[in-house]
Symmetry: C2
DNA sequence: AAGCATTACGGCGTACGTAATGATT
DNA sequence: AATCATTACGTACGCCGTAATGCTT
């Protein structure tokens, strides 16, 4: 009340009255939605008691709802003569809308239930290009085919997309996530890093027998990594870690380009084993210091933390886990 | 609880569970309508606080509503990061329906308001044919023309139509109504009854000087009246009433037919003055015992008792009262 | 620092059930 | 007699506001 009084001092009386009325109107509008639905049920069943049974309330409740609705609307909606209900003109018109209202609400609910409980709709997956081509698509190929109702979007970027903004359901990343508690990370499998170069390069420059030798060499740097031009190794004897900082002149954010640069002999590159499997097999690239393992990365599937994921998301995660659990240990 | 237990004893557990679930579902459905509307507002305004202001509640309330909705639906509808709201796929789909729901509800309300506050839609009037032709149409002619948005239905019957069943807004009757408290009767004006006959008839049969002379005569009876073959008079000297029972051989429920029978000399008839004005003027019929007035009828406008009539009804009643108040006293 | 969303908590309001009444078949 | 709608009344539940907290810009 004091609020209203204050407002009256600063604004014109009329506008205040109007806006207060508006608000009041709105609130009553909300209150009446349930009554409108009850009204629709009553009209459909042509009986207060039948509607009450359907709705799981007493006829008393129904009667009170209709009365309240009529009072609020300021008009008689139906004439009731104990055995027979008959709509007024207003009631008839109003029923149309109530009916539509209920229908829209029911449709909304059923659609949501469907999206929650069936593998339908859209599934949006964020990955990097290489991961996507090399592993995600193979991992999901069969699963995708068995769910023709599901549209799958691969949002392929070399940066970490914001899950919320881009509506990503599942993101596949090497980093376990940004320590954001709104997300949950599930490790999928372990990927190994290797250092490699083209045969030409290795032939041309100083031989590499130990990590220390690397300091004479040039690195093609992947910008997305924390320390692009640094290499970490695990001593095969002691198990201790050691880091070597290389020179880097070429930088890129694209693995394909990096591979291209590497195969043409521009330098060494640190890359995931899975990204160069083919090139290693056909001799285009050669692993450097194979006896010095580098620390691996873990591939994570990230989702937003929810108490209840849509079924399609959990099923997709299952399919991913299933696939990766079958892979051999050395990737 | 005891109720449910009893039900379980009499029916199969499964069916009971289902039906109980159904009911529960329905009730929650009703509860959620308001939440769905709130959700729609939030999405539209892209803000909890803005929606709250619009709706005249606190953000706290809005937050609780959305939470409740999400819990009930078992799914996240929107991701909220303090400054930004973003719908999930389910939320997007759900919003569509909520939007439609709100729209239907608003449309229903505005339509009802229109029907209540404007002279639009349908107006259903019940009368007898003669009343309609002789008085109602003339009374409303101008008013009807000034409301082109209004459709007027004349339900013309020689019996008293059930107002509810036939959706009559206004009934015009001679009897003040069936003492039904669900209706309200407004007297419009006083109509006089007269006794008349054709000149041929009067010339052919015994002269009529006093009411007692009538007992020698034959009456054409209007079935719809309480005592069709009886005539009541008011003694012009003493003011006392006296009744005379005439013979009646011809019965009908139609005034036009009655007039036709009367003009062809089949007998006397008791009729409203307004129904034979023309015939009296051109000499086709002659009033009998003009110095002995008969008790008049009152023309009533009957409506169903409502706390609030649609505007068109009250306006129509006004037009009728207006018209009849202008008429000369002797009808 | 200001605006926004969330949560816990408690009080108020109300919607519902119970029971009695009236109406209709 | 049975079913249905209405009303009065009291209670229990749920909704919302207050206040405190955390988060973002």
């Amino acid at each position: 009340m004091s609020k209203a009084t204050l407002a009256q001092l600063s604004k014109s009386t009329k506008s205040v009255t109007d806006s207060a009325g508006q608000v009041r109107q709105q609130r009553n509008f909300l209150e009446n939605l349930r009554n409108m639905a009850v009204f629709a049920y009553v009209v459909e069943r042509r009986s207060f008691s039948a509607a009450a049974r359907d709705l799981g309330v007493t006829t008393s409740a129904v009667s009170q709802q209709i009365r309240a609705l009529e009072e609020e609307m300021g008009i008689v909606l139906m004439h009731r003569s104990t055995r027979k209900l008959s709509l007024t003109e207003s009631g008839e018109a109003f029923y149309q809308s109530c009916q539509e209202m209920v229908e829209a609400a029911e449709q909304g609910r059923s659609r949501v239930n469907e999206l929650r409980d069936d593998v339908v709709g859209d599934l949006r997956i964020a990955t990097t290009p290489e991961l996507c081509v090399n592993h995600i698509v193979p991992a999901l190929s069969q699963w995708m085919q068995s769910h023709p109702q599901l549209n799958i979007h691969f949002e392929v970027e070399n940066k970490n997309i914001d899950l919320i903004e881009s509506r990503i359901d599942i993101a596949l990343r090497m980093s376990p996530g940004l320590a954001d508690s709104s997300m949950v990370a599930r490790p999928l499998f372990q990927v190994n890093q290797i250092l490699c170069a083209s045969p030409e390069y290795l032939a041309r420059y100083a031989p590499i027998k130990t990590p220390e030798d690397l300091q004479q060499h040039t690195m093609i740097a992947m910008e997305l990594l924390k320390e692009p031009s640094q290499c970490e190794f695990i001593d095969p004897v002691t198990g201790k870690r050691l880091s070597v900082l290389l020179n880097a002149r070429l930088f890129t954010n694209n693995v394909f380009l990096m591979k291209s640069l590497c195969t043409t002999g521009q330098g060494l590159m640190r890359v995931l084993h899975i990204d160069v499997q083919k090139e290693l097999a056909n001799g285009e690239l050669i692993e450097v210091l194979p006896e010095w393992p580098m620390p691996g990365y873990t591939l994570y599937a990230l989702t937003l933390r929810r108490e209840r994921q849509p079924l399609k998301v959990t099923r997709c995660l299952e399919a991913l886990l299933q696939h990766f659990s079958q892979l051999p240990i050395r990737h």
